[in-house]
Amino acid sequence: MSQRKATIVKDFLWACTAAGFVAIILRFAYGLGATTGLSDTTPWGFWIGFDLLGGVALAAGGFTIAAAVYIFHLESYRPLLRSAILTAFLGYLSVIFALLCDLGLPWHIWKPMVNWQPHSVMFEVAWCVMLYTTVLSLEFAPVVLEHPWFRLPIFRAVLTLLKRLTLPLVILGIALSTLHQSSLGSLFLIVPYRLHPLWYSPIQPILFFVSAVALGLLTVTLEAFVSAYLYDHELPHGLLAGLGKVAAIVLWVYLALRIGDLIFRKLILAPFNGSWQGVLFLIELGLGALIPAILLSIPRVRRSPIGLGTSAILGVSGIILNRLSVSVIAQYRPPETAYFPSLSELLISLGVLSAIGLVFLFIVETFNVFGAPEKHELDQSVSSPVSYAFQDDLWRNHILRRSFVVVLVIAATFALLPSQIVEGRMMPSTEVRSAVGGDILWIDGNRNEEGVRFEHQKHIERQRQQATNEETACAVCHHLSKPGDQATPCWECHRDMYLPTSIFDHTFHQQALGGNVSCSECHIGEHIADSAVGCNECHETMASKESTTVKFNYAARGYVDALHDQCVSCHKREATAQNKENLPRCPTCHRAEGAPPGVRRLLSLSNP
């Protein structure tokens, strides 16, 4: 029975939704940096390319079929109308969900409504999404209101009103769609230096609009295939072949525009220059537009389910690939900043689509989506041809199994996602390497050539002159020395350039003092870091008394902070004392000439 197929599909969709749910929670718990592959050179990634640009283009079926039925009076397409509008509506909802994940401050999504910026394409896009989603919900509302649930007179009155408004709504919807589909292309008019010339086109808005019409028609076709499969419908061959014919014409127009644009911009040979962008372009336009256009132009192919289905799949993937190329793949970025969507980006896209898929199935099983009633068949409560699903105990029967699947998938998602996404970002550590040299030390912990020429010998001499006790002169700067050491170098404790590092080996101390009974040797009361005694309670010579810096902390500060603090604070004091105002300034220590020549030779030997 068809119920079985639908049940399996729904189980799968529930599982994907659960995985996406986990990813969405982590996205908002740890932020975009930890959970996505986005970066300063790739501010827009998979969500914009696939969910937003792809989703909106997929939804174009809504306005094209509405135009065919209502404007061009092609009544034969009416059976496809409701599912096309439903797909468009849900498509826009999924776009909004994905956008809420992508926006850095999604709680400000309403700001374009109050702060008008008519020069901004994004402003137009925001308004189009908002208005067209509203129009789509009104266009689809009658389907819901026809259901016996809404028998109250108030609902009936709204239903009558909406049915009367159908034509104005459809016209408004077509205008908004035209604007929206093209404005998504206009978004990329402002990136002439960032987008590869094969995709940057001054007629981008027109290309986006035309390809969206083709994509919308092919999506409606594919959707008919899916629901025919799921609910054992008869495939409306004649209608779909008709759609395929129109799609072929639109695809030819699209191809002509794209190739004409390349010829006009003298780039027609550029796809064949062997670059990966050229190959991508040929795949996108060849597999994704040319082949489906040819296939759909042959009457025998578009009448056969296999031919039609193949062309539809090719066309849909090709045009979605185009959206991804324009927004992400073909954008130039420096070679060291490659972008690949993170697992949680992919899971969120998958989850949002699956959730929307479940809503789609719920609606087609509850309301009369496929069996569109005759024009004026208002007051009869029509029952949907597939509405048995919810009247039966289908959902209740599956609750136990689906709960189990969902819990399992949530657990598995947590287990399989990389730790950065599940636990937030661990700050990358930058190991510090030792200073190099003798009288002049080259202090450059991360070897990025921005180090300090430190006159070690001169500082020693100066300290010796000033210090009361020559023995402790070193300890002014070397404020903490390892046991048995006299002047431990900075980098031995401050081991990371930016992050604090632990310098206390707890296990070692515990074992040396006699295992588990030894806690009270160091900790007074509770077993926490704060209750521990300082190092020099036992190691009397470890921390210097001359030092002005912190004597003991179980975590040493980052190298940069520690050294700046130590040097600059002293240089500031001396600047006032000796009236040398340049002393605390950067170039006093950070010399433009870099490492001393001797050190450079040493470094080139150790770091080939």
Partner: protein, 255 residues
Amino acid sequence: MIGILVDVTRCIGCRECVAACVNANRLGKNIPLPQHSADGLSSQRWVSVISRPGERYVRKSCLHCLEPACVSACPVGAMQKTPAGPVVYDASLCMGCRYCMMACPYGVPRYDWDHLVPYVRKCTLCYSRLKEGKLPACVEACPTQALAFGQRSELLSQAHRLIRSEPMKFVQTVYGEHEAGGTLILYISDIPLDWLGYHVAPGPTPLPDYTALAMSLVAPTSLGVMALMAGTWWVIQRRMKLMGARADSSEGETQ
């Protein structure tokens, strides 16, 4: 319009300007993250000094375009061009769409990738300090007068005077005079600065011009489409009615 003239030949790469910027704008630690690009700018570093071959150092920050792409792109007016010239950012309006980051021909605006409440961050030309009558922090800090602050027009003529006076030394163009319609930060240099753009040196057309045509067509397109659709509907339904009436009349005139 105010501006800064950067003389690349005078810069010794001391990064005093970076330190001053960090202090003036209370920026945090700059931990290198995979999100950052190599030019040294990040949400915590609004100005950077890029080392180039031959011991050359080039200061990079927001160039404060005369007609900024980011301002034109912003759907909420968070990026604003002030009358005095600096391009500033109002975090209370931003929704985080990051279109400004895409639009900038220099790739300057950076994002707080690691914050749960992330903002776009970039140089504001010390707009708050300017209002107090102070110099931008970087200009004040520069020990070698590599940065000169003043009216853009005066800086521009000064720049041309300087490059003309030593034609053997300087590249004979002022970077920022025409790039992307002109910028407040101007450069004179003895090395080419084409690499300062995000991918290539921007041409002379201001970037907002690229979208202006499309935006001006919004109203006519929507009205045109609506009129076309309504007209088509009317024509077709009228024809169908006429055809229906003819069919009816052939069946015999009843009622």
